[in-house]
Amino acid sequence: MRRMSVFPSGTSLGNLGLTANVLQQEDENNTSELVSELANLSDRARIQAIRSLPMSYDERRRIRSRAISVKTSKNIFNIDCSQQVSRSFRRFGASVASARQWLVVWHGTLKEIGGRFGTSVLSYFLFLKWLLKFNVFSLIINFCFITIPQIVHAPNISNVTGFRGLELLTGVGYFNQTVLFYGGYNGEVIVSKPPYNMQLAYFFTIAAYLVLCGVSLIYSMSRSFQKNFVLESGPVSGGAWRLLCSWDFSVVNEKAIQNNKNNLGTQLKESLSERLQMKHTMSMSERMKYLSLHVLAWLLSLGLAVGSCAGIYFLGIDQLTSSLNHNPNDLTAEASTLLLPVVVSLINLIVPLLYSLISIMERYSNPRAKIYISITRNVVLKMSILGILCYYWLNSVPENMVCWESFVGQSVYRLLIIDFIFCLFGTFFGEFLRNVIGTTCAPSLGVPEFDIARNVLDLIYAQTLAWIGIYFSPLLPVMQVIKLLIIFYMKKVSLSMNCQPPKHTGRAAQMQTVFIALLFFPSFVGALSMVAYTVWSLKPSKYCGPFQGLQTPFHTILSWTVYIQNLPGTYWVWWIFENVLRNELFYYLVTLIILVITYFLWQITQGRKELIRTLRQQIVNEGKDKAFLLNQLQNTQKQRRQMASFRYQEFDQTLHFNPNWINTLPLDM
C-alpha cells in the first residue's frame, strides 16, 4: 500500500521551482493512484485500508466514495448475491464484536486501575483474568462430562461422617467420598441409549482439557514472544526512545501523571549515567570480588531451596506414617494434616524475602539482570517445592494408602486453601501494615510499591497446583475460581488504598512474555508430566475411583482400542493407534524433520540480519549523497544568483531558501 506522504500544509518548497499548481497536480495523481488501488481490493480489505489512512475524516470519506464509484463503474455486472452475503457477514461480525464488549467483565474496574497505575500493573490483573478463563472452562467441561453423569447415576456413598466445619480446610471427612475427589467416581459403563463409559469420559475430558490448555499457552507465548522479543534486537538497546515512547497515555489521575513524570526523569538520568559507567572498566580484582559474591549468593539461594525441600519431604513422610495410625474421627489428628501446607506456605513467604536480602549484597551490570535473576531464584524455589511434593505423592503415598488418589487430591486442596489464606495475610501485612508504617512511623520507607513479579509468581504457583490437582479432584477448579475472584477484588482494594505504581516502568511487555513463558514451561509442562506419569505408569488404587482394577489408567484406552478393532468399519482407527502413535520410529522421524526445518529457518534469519545491516549502511550512504547534491545545488544557485544580480541589478531577487527542505521529503520517495 503506497503510503501517503506527510506534508503539513505549511511547508515551503517555494524556490525549488515547484509552483502550487505542480504540487496540486502531484497530489491529485497520488489520490487517483490510491483510489484505483483501493478499488481493486476486496470489500473487507478496502475498509481496513481506508481506516488505516492517516488523513482526516472528511478526506477518508471522500476517498471512500470515489473508490466505491470507481468499483461500481468497473463491475456493472456485479454478482449481487455474493456481495450481499459478504456484507451481511461483515455486519454480523461487527455486531458480534459489539456484543462481546458487553460480555467483557470488569471493563470499568480495569480501566480505572490502568488509569491510576499504568499498564504494567494492569497486566497483572489481565493475567489474573486470563487464568480465570482457564479455570472456568475446565470447571464447565469437568462438570458436564464427568460430574453430572456420576451424580445422576447416584453411586452409593459409604461411611459418610457428619459435616463438621473442618472439612472446608482439610477436605477429608464429609468430602471424602463425594464427587469432589477422585474416589467419588466409579468407572462403570452407564447403561443408556449410547452407553456412556465413565472411564473413557474421565480420561478423555482431562486429556482434552490439558491439551487445549497447552495449545492455547503455546499460541499466546509465541505471539507474545514475536511481538516483544524478536523486534527488540538491534541498535535500539540503550532505550532513551523506548522510555519516551512508552509514556502511558491511558493514565488519567493527575497525581499519577506527576509521579510518572518524576519517575521518567529519574529513569532517564539513570540510563544516562549507566551509559557513562559502561565505559568505565573494572579492574581484575574487583571483578573477581563481584564474581565470588555472585557465586556465594547463588550457593546460598540453592542451599535454602534444597534445605526447604528436604524439610518438606521428611515432614511429609512423618505425616504419612502418623496419618495411617489415627482414628478417622479424631479432630486433632485431622487438623495436624494442615501442618504440611502451613509449612509450605511459610517457606513460600519467607524464603523470597531472604532472597531479596541476599541480592542486596550483589552488584549487577544492569537492573534488568537483577529482576531476571530474582525471578529465576524464586521460580527455582517454588518449582522444586512442587517437584518434591509430586515425588512424595507419586512414590511414597501409593504404596501406603488405600485410596491414594483421593489423598493426593485432598493434599492439593489443603495446599490451595492455606495458600489462599496466606495470600490474604500477606496482603494485609505486606501492603496495609507496610503502608501504615511507611507513612506514619518511618516516613523514609515511603508507600510500598506494587510488586508485580512476586504477585504474578504467586498466581503461577497456585495455577500449577490447580493443574496438578485436576486429575485427582475434578471439581478443584471451583475453588480456584472462587479464590481468583476474591483475590481480584482484594488486590484492587489494597492497590487503591495502599500502594503506589512501580517506579521502573519500562519493559512491561517483555515481562509479560516472560510470565507467560513461565506459566508454560515449568508450570504447565511440570503438571502435565506429573499427570502423564500417573496415567501411564502408576497402578490405580484397587477399591476406589474410576480406574479400579486396571493395571494402569492407560489400559482403559488399550482395551477400548481392542473393542474398536472388532467393530466393522473402524479398523483404520486401531491401525493408526497401534502402528503410528505407539510406534517410536514415528516420533524420531517427526523430531528429525522439525530439527531440519529449524536449522533452515535459523539460516534464513541470519541472512536477513546481514541484509538489514547492509541496508542501513546504504541509507547512510544515500544520506551523504543527498547532502552532497544539496551542496551542489546551493552552489549552482549561488552562482546563478550572482550572474543574475550582475545582469539585472534593479531586480531584487531574494530567495528564501530552507536548507532543510530535503528532510521534508519522505524517505521512500
Binding site: 492517516p54 459489539s98 523506548r242 519516551l244 538520568k269 532543510n660
Partner: protein, 187 residues
C-alpha cells in the same frame, strides 16, 4: 445537532463505524460526551473549542493535550477546535484496534512541536521537558539534555542528517513493543 444527546441515525452510525476503528458502542458514547461538551459552548456551534475539549477527564492532565487538539483539528482558524468527526478521529487513533502505522503517524505529528515534518533537537528537547517532572531532582540539566538528545539521535537517525523524520520514527517505534499498549485513550 442541539444540546440534547440524541441518538445518531443508523446510516451515519454505520458510516462512522466503517471509517474509524471504533465500535458502535464507543461511537455512541463519544457522541454523548461530545453533546455534553457542546452544551457548554457559548453559541450553537458545530465545533467545540479547545478549552472545552480539555475539560474531558481523559485529556485534562495529559502533558500533550494541546498538541493533540491541534493535530486532530481540521479547523481553518488553527485554534485546535474539534468537530465531531475530528473527535472520532482522535478516539479512533487512540483506540485499541488502531494499527501501529496510524498510531506512530499521529504520535510523530504530536511530538513535532513546530510542525515542520521532522523532529529536530528543539522538538526533542521540548518532548523531554514535557515528559519529565518539574521537581528539581527530576528535571534534566543542560549537559544531561545534550547527552540525551545525542543518544536519541544516535539511536534513531539512520541517514545521519541530525533530525528524525517519519520513517525513522516509525522504525524506532516498531521496535518498542510497549508503544502500542501505552498509546491508548479510552472513554
Amino acid at each position: 445537532m442541539g444540546g440534547t444527546a440524541s441518538n445518531l441515525p443508523k446510516e451515519l452510525l454505520s458510516e462512522y463505524q466503517e471509517l474509524t476503528f471504533l465500535t458502535k458502542q464507543e461511537i455512541n458514547e463519544a457522541h454523548k460526551k461530545f453533546c455534553q461538551l457542546q452544551a457548554r459552548e457559548n453559541g450553537p456551534n458545530e465545533r467545540v473549542s479547545m478549552q472545552n475539549i480539555l475539560t474531558l477527564p481523559e485529556l485534562k492532565s495529559n502533558p500533550f493535550r494541546e498538541r493533540v487538539c491541534h493535530v486532530f483539528s481540521t479547523s481553518d482558524r488553527k485554534d485546535g477546535s474539534l468537530s465531531f468527526e475530528d473527535f472520532l478521529d482522535l478516539l479512533s487513533a487512540f483506540s485499541d484496534s488502531a494499527t501501529l502505522e496510524i498510531k506512530s503517524h499521529y504520535a510523530f505529528r504530536i511530538f513535532d512541536f513546530d510542525d515542520d515534518g521532522t523532529l529536530d533537537s528543539e522538538d526533542l528537547k521540548k518532548l523531554v521537558n514535557c515528559l519529565t517532572g518539574e521537581t528539581d531532582d527530576a528535571r534534566l540539566t543542560l549537559e544531561e539534555m545534550r547527552q540525551l538528545i545525542g543518544n536519541i539521535l544516535e539511536e534513531s537517525d539512520i541517514d545521519k542528517d541530525g533530525t528524525v523524520n517519519l520513517s525513522e520514527f516509525q522504525h524506532v517505534i516498531s521496535r518498542s513493543p510497549d508503544f502500542v499498549s501505552s498509546f491508548k485513550i479510552v472513554l
